[in-house]
Symmetry: C3
Subunit: 682 residues, 3 copies
């Protein structure tokens, strides 16, 4: 594991001093407060275009020179942003083409943030010039450690330039219209295209039910955004190619396939704003952990937590304060799952506009005596204490398939449950059970390799692309254990249904054929009854299932569980099949959580997958590990508001963050995180 930023975990924030240039005292106070809070990095320049180039071609660097110099003097590193996330008013006024056109084909007016065309040559030219200038001036400054490319890329544009680009993209992909017509199945509804010029992007008042087109449009948007980003990166790398780049991703963002950014960024980073205390914190914690692990999995290396709020946000329905302890706990959760930083949006609250009440380290009172500032300071101390963690990564024996394009296809295609197929929820059901056992889980998409894992879980593999069915076949053949579910092996990468039995090309691997699938309303359920125990015997009795009920025929597999109700009572809902050296489990419905808990307890035992701690944790307490060749860190996280009795972890573990004997039972306080370590050198 190459160290990203030297011997420390990073602690910092988005910093927008251009809002305070009228009061030079603010910068001075800020630096003092940063040091007091244990901050060592600031992201600057994110929304500075108007401040850096107040009129076309006239640049203003002095204020940024001073900010960078001042931070550097105080040993605070800089993440320098390209300012493409929001453009100056003069640019929009002079070049209307830079503004986006919505799917209704109306061009936006100036305003908001993500509001520019990724195709526009003028926008590319202008941001290119800006980035080159930034790089020329600052890329060799010793404080500048990372390029923060733009901000939260997202959205799409339907202007004429984008229409042309989309058509070119399609021509490259399909070469002939015949091929496109066949893959999009346009003969349906007589939609055969006879000229490329007839194709328009999806529109509420035009074509929107040709799923193949919808998918390709989403892919095009990802590719065009990536292309725009690469244009930005080329500009900043022109002066110093050694500064790594990142761009900040968003929470389960559907608009872009983040796995496609894998090679374009040097480091993955993301912005994390959980709705703590809105529902059970132990559930929110799982949801957050899963995305941390997904971000880590994109490059299979530590990531950065680029934004978070030290207190409430201001865009949720209700802005709840983080209860005492939650700030440290939730920040350390990121570190536990592989982040090498904890950063905030933003350092100091703005005085006006839409985010003035968003949590920040320094509030409008400017005081370090606030509850929030104190918790940030406490975290600063802790991160400093845990500097060595920056040198560790996470290795997994289990991988779960989460594929953006599969999700797009599942959610866009009509039937069998238009009120919600629950792809993410299905994935999370498996993840939750594994994480509760303390396991490290990697996420892969269908373009990833899966060799080397003991267990691969592929929930709702509706779409098959990138030859993934072959990877699965060979994985099982060579001894791997595969878990599949209902609604798998249905369509190809263009949402064209495979002919023949489903799951396509995997009926022998799974040992079953799926004939049809029953949709259940939210108030309905069925049950699965265990008729054949696994070795571990944990999975037993009956479990509630809902949403979708696959109608299976055994095709070599044995039935482990059967439905109890409806006209398909007695038919299989969980099966196991031996194939080659390995095994495939097929789950025909979505079950209640205890099913996955019990199933995976059995599988973990059976597959000899090592858990970091053998003891069972109380509900809501999660253990997570990071390690390098020499040492393993254990993060015990209590996501409940109550103190919890923790069983002995074992004598090999020594507590790092407080004085407690972990070879005996001990008590974790409300929202406490405890870090322990053990040596891996025997």
């Amino acid at each position: 594991m190459k160290r990203q930023f030297g011997e420390r975990l990073l602690h910092g924030a988005d910093y927008n001093p251009e809002q305070w240039l009228h009061d030079p005292e603010v910068l001075k106070q800020d630096v003092q407060l940063m040091k007091q809070a244990g901050c060592n990095v600031m992201s600057i320049g994110i929304f500075s275009w108007a401040a850096l180039e107040p009129e076309e071609g006239r640049y203003q660097w002095e204020w940024m020179d001073q900010v960078i110099q001042t931070l550097h003097e105080h040993d605070i590193s800089i993440f320098l942003a390209t300012p493409s996330g929001a453009r100056p008013a003069w640019l929009a006024e002079k070049y209307p083409e830079v503004m986006r056109v919505a799917s209704n084909r109306q061009r936006n007016l100036y305003g908001a943030r993500h509001n520019h065309c990724y195709t526009s040559p003028i926008y590319r030219e202008k941001i290119g010039q800006m980035n080159q200038q930034l790089a020329a001036r600052y890329a060799k400054h010793p404080a500048v450690r990372l390029w923060h490319i733009s901000n939260e890329y997202g959205g799409e544009c339907h202007c004429d330039l984008c229409q042309e680009a989309f058509r070119s993209w399609l021509q490259r992909k399909y070469v002939t219209l015949d091929h496109l017509n066949e893959q999009w199945w346009t003969t349906f509804w007589s939609h055969t295209y006879t000229d490329w010029s007839q194709i328009e992007s999806p529109a509420p008042h035009g074509e929107n039910a040709t799923h193949g087109m919808n998918l390709d449009w989403k892919r095009f948007v990802t590719d065009q955004t990536l292309d725009f980003m690469q244009h930005e990166i080329a500009a900043v790398k022109s002066s110093n190619p050694d500064i790594p780049v990142t761009t900040n991703f968003m929470y389960y963002f559907d608009g872009l396939n983040y796995f496609k950014f894998k090679d374009a960024v040097d480091i993955v980073s993301w912005d994390n704003y959980p709705t703590w205390h809105k529902r059970a914190d132990l559930d929110i914690a799982i949801d957050t952990a899963m995305y941390h692990d997904m971000m880590r999995s994109i490059k299979r290396q530590p990531f950065l937590l680029m934004e978070s709020s030290p207190s409430s946000t201001n865009w949720q329905s209700v802005s709840k304060l983080k209860k005492p302890g939650m700030h440290v706990l939730s920040s350390m959760q990121a570190v536990a799952h592989g982040s090498n930083s904890v950063q905030y949006f933003q350092w100091r609250k703005s005085r006006g506009s839409s985010e003035k009440f968003h949590g920040a380290v320094v509030s409008h009172d400017g005081s370090p005596n606030t509850r929030v500032f104190q918790e940030v300071t406490e975290l600063g101390r802790l991160l400093h204490q845990l500097s060595d963690v920056a040198d560790t990564g996470r290795d997994a024996q289990v991988a779960i398939v989460y594929d953006w394009e599969n999700k797009w296809a599942i959610e866009d295609s009509q039937g069998p449950r238009n009120i919600g197929m629950g792809y993410k929820e299905e994935v999370q059901s498996h993840y939750r059970a594994l994480v509760k056992q303390g396991l490290t889980v990697d996420f892969v998409d269908m373009e990833c390799e899966i060799d080397g894992y003991k267990l691969v879980i592929a929930p709702m593999l509706y779409m098959q692309r990138a030859g993934f069915e072959q990877k699965l076949r060979s994985f099982v053949e060579q001894g791997g254990t595969l878990v599949m579910t209902y609604w798998s092996g249905i369509v190809n990468e263009n949402d064209l249904v495979h002919l023949g039995d489903a799951p396509h090309q995997l009926t022998d691997v799974a040992g079953i054929v799926s004939e049809e699938i029953d949709g259940l309303y939210d108030h309905e359920h069925n049950r699965g009854r265990v008729i054949h125990h696994l070795e571990g015997q944990t999975l037993t009795g009956e479990y509630c299932c809902h949403k979708l009920c696959d109608q299976l025929h055994l095709h070599g597999a044995e039935a482990l569980m059967v439905y109890t109700d409806d006209f398909y009572a007695g038919r299989p809902v969980l099966t196991r099949n031996n194939f080659g050296q390995g095994q495939t489990y097929y789950i025909g419905s979505q079950f209640e959580p205890s099913f996955y808990d019990d199933l995976y307890k059995d599988l973990i035992r059976q597959l000899h997958i090592q858990r970091p701690v053998e003891a069972e944790m109380p509900q809501g307490v999660y253990v997570t590990t990071r390690s390098n060749a020499k040492v393993e860190y254990l993060f015990v996280q209590n996501f409940t508001a109550e103190a919890q009795a923790i069983p002995a972890l074992g004598a090999e573990w020594s507590a790092v963050t407080r004085d407690v004997d972990l070879s005996r039972d001990w008590t974790a306080a409300s929202f406490e995180v405890l870090v322990a370590k053990r040596s891996l050198i025997i």
Copy 2:
């Protein structure tokens, strides 16, 4: 009754072989499977425009020649569609005027289906040429038995051509602006039109609260669609006027007044997609039965079930599988209510686009071994067994008024319950009670004649048009029994309120005057208490009522029931009035179902209306009859998932579809349909 299609009930599907031209094996397999499933008719060409005319003026007939010939060779009839339901991309690209303009005045982009202007001369020219060519080539082919004109006509266009057509329509109707201004009451809000050119169709950002205009716009849309259809029909009839025409109607479709199509089509057909198993099937069955009877009533002759799903649909919120038995039962329900066919959308599932997961006879696996294919095959055998039913119709002694324009007016006018007036629900309350007694019910609209019925029920006759109040007066005068309800006799055909007492010109017929009406929230109710029994004495005690409470004054009638609550407790809510040789019942509120059950039991006895079976059926079991001069068929339909004990039907009934003695009590299985018959020749 003229036999529509010879000595058989039809069984078939929409068939779209143009989607499979790349694989000639598919057509071969299809024909084998059709024979296996007992299919004898296929609808083809519905979305074939692009396949038939891939570029302007260049036609491609070979594939259709072959399909028709192949089907014919296997004794499968053809319903040949005109392809106007969806247009080729080249047409939209070259002639943008064919695309619709939405009410917001934005022209649609190419896409979807119903997306063309019914007024456009170019669209009419192009479809006219296509239809003539189709007819010239195939109208005399012996397999072609029916023209399937377009597909599910619907929607509206607000383009300049349509605006002009609307103004011309208005000029024909009103002749002078003064007349229009008076009928639309435009002086209100100072909207007096002083030039025809000032009139624009209703718009969200323009006029939308002039109810007379809204109504006329809806009438214009019906008339313009009808005019377009007649243009299509003229083209196909040019080669062989003997082939009858139909167009497929939709479930309770509000956009077109289907009664206006009565004379333009030779046969009525419709597409039926109930949401079985979503709520109580016995309720869904009533709702479906009512529409079957409405379709039958339009021409008062057997209709065709043109589309249905042999399994689930894919556009509902949840795609539930039909439980075993439901496919046969629900298909036979159509036949019981007067259909001479059971047809599906579609024969074979598409591989792509928006309906790829819609139920079909042949699934993506191409196999006849599926549950669905087996049930279709079972139905095929049954329809074959019941061929003689094709020779029967249905005669009714009871008519219910259901008037599209009245519904439009009730729903558009503001007050007294903008959250839902419940016109359809009110109509269905009466229908349900009658159908539970096994009666055949006709539907009429206000342009129909009502002579010859014993009982006419006119729920919520808010609007009066076509002199219907005079038809009712004369019907009662001559001895008929009329049931009226609250919210009747309020406006004329242009939604202009009648001055004087309500119900307009019927206060003497009904013997009451309605002064005002109270709206109830959904959580509120009142009750009616019987103070005077009918002869049958079934109606007794108290019944819950809701939604609207009419405030009546007796004007000759006697009160049979009074309100129990609120400030109008003790005032009449059900009255009876003798007028001429007949009687009028007036119901002042919407009651719970048992009220209608009990009221109509009394009225049926009193009016000596014959029920096919005297015995009371268990809840959810409905009996329905079809007959000709010689024989009567009885369909006993169990719409519950449980077996039901059926009382003896009488020795005159002999079971056709299974071996059971109907002169004794017997058991109907879950979702079973049993067909019996008796001779009418004494």
Copy 3:
């Protein structure tokens, strides 16, 4: 108190005879019915533009001459409207610029009512000519007593003319772009404006999150509407400046800051359509009373109830009839709170268009024998009997701050509760408690003076403008008692957050500092426990609180109550601070109603504020007073459907409206209003 309309209370309606010109009998009948119902005023001409000017420049006065003359002959006064509320079709057709442009920048089509640009020079010219003609012809007619300027002004226009006007308005306000940029904090998101031309009004597809801009746009809309109204007024005053003017306001209308109309209208009037019987009438009564008092407070003189329904409305979700007694009660409630009139929309129901089923005095039957007409007649008699009330006003010792601009800012700014901050509800919590004690309450906005009140309540004073914080400081300093709440003193008039401690410049007056605020979901609550009693000892025990929980530090104040739950249990939620000669109470959360009841009982006693009647009224019975130097009227209003036992009011009160001895306990009937009086001359 100057008498507005002589020695009588007014009773009348909107009258639209132009809808009935085709039937001269109607006018004759109307006048007879008006006399029968005790009506003495009619508002005419509101939607008469098309009838008065059927084509450009051609006027038609005869019908209006006759209406005015006929009414005058029957001693019925006229409120003469300017017809700008709806324009003729010819005007929209010839001059499209008069039609509004929506925020999406689409220009409306002709239709509806409020659909014209307030900036358009042509619209101003045309309405100016019309108004001048109206005034020239009728302003000196003895029947004409008031100008009813337009109708329910509202809405906004985004056309290019309005954009220019907005920019000019901004230039006048800010002078320099630097100033605007600073106050709008445009550096955030790089939105710095470098040319005035870059500014566009808020748009869904443009800028909409710059709160300072949003606020200024709302202010501009108020100012432009006011400017348009003043243009209208100048035209009508040209002929006879002595006729007073009003314009009818709407229920809690957010679109216009009605306090800004204070000097432009001579009399305030409003249109009142409560949803009686939808929820508890005693709550609806408080809500309505509060707005009556707000309307009275704008000019601190009697107002007019310009519109109401004698029965149901037709635009609510359900049109409920007013139960017997409610019409008189609700009408008298307006009088009790300061109205000198009870007027209806409308006199006679229209036959067509959108409001044909809106309640009116005369229904479509044209009969005076209806329940509604009888109740109107009964009210007419009562108003006649109470003529002297017209000579009375209302004086208050308590003022509540309700500031339109503060409300705009609270609702627009994001966080801490985007699902609803509840400004109006918070204000009403205080008002309810005071009104239940029979007190008269004035409303003030921040531009008003507050000297002379004993108690000023300033709920959620988020925004500070017009130097109001200084007015509060000086008010308390000089001995006043101030009640403040959470979310106060946060931003300046442009929604720019104050730096330093909150509440800005009032931390010494309140004796507390607010550090942060916790948002609660609707299902959450906390509690406040009294730890220090007030003198009256009514406030005691615990009270539930919700929505928002302020986190306070004492800064001189004493804690009277503390939170019981969450991590801030034990911290202050109600405090009291002595400042100068006065006191400030600070309430940190929103409490259940009993808290305000108990708190204000204590404060009323402590501050020696006089209640009109010492006895406690039953729940739902409210007492309200009007007085002049000589006499005080007491209105006892039973807003429950049950009879209520009323304690003795005291020997000094004599009943006016029925014969009852008020020195003893007596019974108020369901929905009864009783009026009593006492002499103030000792």
